[in-house]
């Protein structure tokens, strides 16, 4: 398949493709979230979704896919009841039966032992738990349905079923105190999960929390507070021996890295199914329509092209590579831009924001906190 297979090496995860399945349901919408999902009320919608999903996958199915990762995200896949979840796993497994990695996202309140067993039975290798915080105060601000006690219990259970699991954390939430973040990461210290995703909070327009901020009910961290928290998160995870292999992703061992995410960051091909899912193959990016109802009606005709030219590719290469600890390989930059990119990178190196190692530009810790500005600066070399 097109650009995806050109430069990979034997045994290198970059050859792997990705399969993503979007489950557009949640028990309740979180106050900060703007991903496409609906609150789960009518079970017939789940039925209809699953039918449509199967039609979409079937229509697209490619028997010679080679190696691939499988990722079921959402929404909250585990918001489905046991039967529906089983049906989902059956459908997916029917077409994508031998993934090199199989992740399912879960909310701590919707993942009991039965479902954990089910996932294990269907070949899931990794669960990703949306914990976000161990402070109940912060969980309330975020509008999560679970408490920190729920999270601790589910993590405990999950660890019995899965060697590899991820805990999602969010820091620098509006209204979050320093104590909250310290408490949260003290818990994390005690748990020592194999993999941690720690995201800086992003305020999305149109969400309830955005309105709270606009109305002054919550305050966004100033730069110095943000930096304090960022430094705390980073140093806690470092001290515990985690490797930061991407700006927001930490692993306790190389073998627990999330291969599926690496597919995204390395610009490998991936195929997304379900409403709002994204795909990238043959150098073209697609997005599935964000509308469950039209998806149910016609799941074979939901993809629209969002970008496809070479300048998009280069920009994405810069943007995604710089997120990772591998950095941006100058060899992948066409000759005509290389010296300009290098020049811009040298300026950034002088400021201590990147290191230039052999032919790679790698962002430093200091640089990660201002990654957007760095990306824009390198982009300017592509003009």
């Amino acid at each position: 398949m097109k650009r995806g297979n050109q430069t990979g090496k034997e045994g290198n995860p970059t050859r792997i493709k990705g399969i993503y399945v979007h489950v557009p349901f949640c028990i309740k919408k979180c106050r900060y979230c703007d991903f496409y999902s609906l609150e789960l009320r009518e079970s017939y919608l789940v039925e209809a979704y699953l039918e449509a999903l199967e039609r979409e996958i079937k229509d697209f199915f490619e028997p010679n896919l080679g190696k691939y990762t499988l990722y079921i995200g959402g929404g909250t896949p585990t918001a489905l009841d046991f039967c529906s979840l089983r049906k989902l796993l059956e459908i997916v497994g029917r077409y994508f039966g031998s993934p090199v990695e199989f992740t399912v996202e879960a909310n701590p309140l919707t993942l009991d032992r039965e479902k954990l067993g089910l996932l294990k039975d269907y070949g899931v290798t990794r669960v990703s738990l949306g914990v976000q915080s161990f402070s109940d105060r912060v969980l309330r601000i975020l509008g999560r349905i679970h408490t920190s006690r729920d999270a601790i219990e589910t993590i405990e259970n999950a660890s019995h079923f899965f060697e590899n699991f991820n805990i999602d954390m969010i820091y620098s939430v509006p209204g979050e105190e320093l104590d909250d973040i310290i408490l949260s990461f003290d818990h994390l210290k005690a748990i020592r999960p194999p993999h941690v995703s720690a995201y800086a909070f992003t305020l999305e327009e149109g969400t309830p929390i955005y309105r709270d901020v606009m109305e002054g009910k919550l305050t966004v961290d100033d730069e110095d507070t943000f930096r304090y928290k960022y430094d705390h998160v980073l140093s806690t995870l470092r001290t515990l021996g985690y490797e930061q292999y991407e700006v927001s992703n930490f692993t306790s061992s190389r073998r627990y890295r999330c291969l599926h995410n690496l597919v995204y960051w390395m610009l490998r091909d991936y195929y997304g199914f379900g409403p709002s899912a994204h795909s990238y193959f043959g150098g073209v990016r697609y997005e599935n329509r964000k509308d469950l109802y039209s998806y149910i009606k016609d799941p074979k005709n939901v993809k629209t092209i969002v970008s496809q030219d070479d300048s998009d590719f280069l920009k994405e290469l810069v943007m995604l590579s710089l997120r990772t600890s591998c950095g941006l390989s100058l060899r992948k930059i066409p000759d005509s831009y290389r010296s300009a990119v290098l020049e811009h990178a040298r300026d950034l190196e002088e400021m201590g924001l990147v290191n230039i190692l052999n032919d790679r530009i790698v962002v430093t810790d200091e640089g990660y906190s201002v990654l957007s500005s760095i990306i824009v600066q390198i982009w300017e070399a592509l003009d």
């Binding site: 993503y20 991903f35 995201y199 730069e223 943000f226 994204h278 990238y280 400021m351 957007s372």
Partner: protein
């Protein structure tokens, strides 16, 4: 035309005293313009003039008036510009007249421009007819206004004519007075042609139209004329009068006012104040008092969008067709790119030009801090005129710097004197004379550096006097000053567009003010930014902008790469609108910071 039946006059007044309304009434009463066609302020043709209530271009109109003595007179009204920036044009217009109607608002009394304009009229030996306007208003005080005219202006007000231009009261008496009191023009038809140019403008169909007053001799179609200041010869294609539309006629004789059209395409060939004579039989003596008006205020004009440079040049060229006093030359600034150094008669002229460029040509412009023209005397004895802080010679080579001074005249109710003295002293003014008029009002005369009144001065005077004080100024010459160039350095690099020349005593305050303003306006960037104000090598103020500490879009979820890319692209576009100084991005607003001060 019988000279005895011609009257040439101007109307002079302080702004808002009703000059243009009075002109409207005269046009109406004499039947020159039918009432239904009379737009308010008929002679102010530009939108900008009507909106601001000021006259920028002089206009001329010929009226026919059947007087009570049963004779039919030709009245030539020469409307004059109403602002000190256009003082030379006013003086040339007055030179074309024998009389002046001095309009004073009965509710305001004599104000600063009234004095200045009256002095000009007196200098030209004009017969002055005082007119007290706005007598319809309840607060009109005719007796006090008469006393003002006599006490302040020294003009007999016993025969002042009371009018209400608004309601047409007293206009007949005024027309009679013009006929009786303004002397008919002198002049000799048999002498060689001598005519004064007092206005000219560019008409896209007809080329340059020149308004003239014939002194001696005559002009007619086909005649070859000589412009005495340039020595250039042109052939007259059309002669006519404004009544009020241009109407061709055969001949203009002594004392007559009208226009000529020649093959002239460039307005700078017909300088206001120049003398026209017969190329075949030239006069020996040109009309006295011609001078080439020199711009007093300079500023850089830059397009916000660099692609508009060509459009800006074209627009300036078009404006210049009608504005011989506007000068410009290409200039480039490290900070702002390519633009033009423009010279103006004063700050009003500057504002008008900028406004017209933006309004009539749809341009978005950055204007740098206006500066006066400094006279630098070098140690070698050489004199240099400096109209741009960047061109100030190396301080070690300078013996002294002189700056232009103006005499500012302020008329104010006495309770505001304290406030105004404070302002005048803060602007480095020196008191020359303070005169109490009638216990309630004061005339203050201060010598003030011209540079100090360029920005925010008129507004400050108005706000400190609740709108009651009026001002006027005139140039009195160059005087030595302890001036220094204040540079702004961003990360050690001087930013040319932010340099200003200031008095040493104010340099520290101004430096501190500028750097703190810039600190607010320049966004945090990836590195620390030092903003310094310096005189020569000596740094006198400094602020630091700490590096950006948070700029990260953390989540890149579910393969939605495009959305993140769009956010970054937006960020990149934002950067594009900034000007780069070295590696520092500076928003446009920062350059405006130097224009205003507290």
């Amino acid at each position: 035309m019988d000279r005895e039946l011609i009257r040439n006059f101007a109307i002079i007044a302080h702004v808002d005293h009703g000059k243009s309304t009075l002109a409207d009434r005269l046009l109406e009463k004499t039947g020159t313009v039918p009432p239904e066609k009379l737009v308010e302020q008929f002679l102010d043709k530009m939108d900008i003039e009507r909106e601001r209530g000021i006259t920028i271009k002089a206009q001329t109109v010929r009226m026919r008036y059947n007087a009570r003595d049963s004779r039919s007179y030709i009245l030539n009204l020469i409307d004059t510009p109403g602002h000190v920036d256009f003082n030379y044009e006013v003086s040339r217009s007055l030179a074309a007249c024998e009389g002046a109607i001095l309009v004073v608002d009965a509710t305001q009394g004599v104000e600063a421009q009234t004095i200045a304009n009256t002095y000009l009229a007196v200098e030209h030996n004009l017969e002055i007819i005082p007119v007290i306007n706005k007598i319809d208003l309840p607060s009109a005080d005719i007796e006090r206004t008469k006393r003002d005219i006599e006490d302040i202006l020294g003009i007999d007000a016993s025969e002042a004519i009371c009018v209400s231009a608004k309601y047409g009261v007293g206009i007949d008496e005024l027309l009679e007075a013009i006929v009786k009191r303004v002397p008919p023009p002198k002049g000799d038809l048999n002498k060689p042609l001598k005519a004064l140019i007092f206005d000219s403008w560019y008409d896209s169909y007809r080329g340059v139209v020149t308004t003239i007053r014939v002194i001696d001799g005559f002009v007619k179609k086909g005649m070859k004329i000589l412009l005495m200041s340039t020595g250039r010869v042109f052939s007259i294609e059309e002669v006519g009068v404004f009544s009020p539309d241009p109407t061709p006629c055969d001949i203009l004789g002594p004392g007559e006012v009208g226009y000529i059209i020649t093959g002239i395409k460039d307005i700078r060939d017909t300088r206001v104040g120049d003398t026209i004579t017969d190329a075949n039989n030239p006069t020996k003596e040109p009309f006295p008092g011609f001078k080439k008006v020199k711009p007093m205020v300079f500023a850089g004009l830059y397009p916000v969008n660099p692609d508009d440079y060509g459009n800006l040049r074209e627009a300036l060229e078009k404006l210049q067709l009608n504005d011989a006093s506007l000068v410009f030359e290409p200039e480039s600034s490290g900070a702002l790119g390519y633009g033009f150094r423009c010279g103006f008669l004063g700050s009003l002229h500057m504002e008008i030009v900028k406004e017209r460029l933006e309004r009539e040509f749809d341009l978005s412009l950055i204007i740098t801090a206006p500066t006066v023209v400094y006279r630098v005397v070098k140690k070698s004895g050489e004199g240099v005129m400096v109209d741009n802080p960047e061109k100030l010679p190396d301080p070690s080579t300078i013996d002294r710097i002189e700056e232009p001074y103006v005499l500012v005249t302020v008329i104010t109710p006495s309770e505001y004197v304290g406030n105004l003295i404070g302002l005048l002293i803060e602007r480095r003014g020196r008191e020359r004379k303070t005169t109490y008029i009638d216990g309630a009002r004061v005339i203050m005369e201060y010598e003030v550096p011209f540079a100090e009144i360029l920005v925010d001065f008129h507004d400050k005077i108005k706000s400190l006097s609740k709108g009651y004080a009026s001002i006027d100024y005139e140039f009195i010459g160059y005087f030595e000053s302890d001036l220094v160039k204040l540079d702004i350095l961003i990360n050690g690099k001087p930013v040319d567009a932010l340099s200003v020349i200031v008095h040493r005593s104010k340099a520290y305050e101004r430096g501190r003010e500028l750097v703190s303003k810039l600190k607010e306006l320049i966004p945090r960037q990836l590195f620390e930014i030092a903003i310094q104000a310096a005189i020569g090598k000596k740094v006198i103020a400094r602020e630091t902008i700490k590096p950006l500490r948070k700029d990260v879009l953390a989540k890149c979820y579910g393969g939605d790469v495009t959305r993140k890319k769009k956010l970054l692209e937006k960020q990149k576009e934002g950067k594009k609108r900034m000007k780069m100084i070295g590696k520092v991005e500076i928003p446009q607003e920062a350059f405006l910071a130097v224009l205003k001060h507290n």
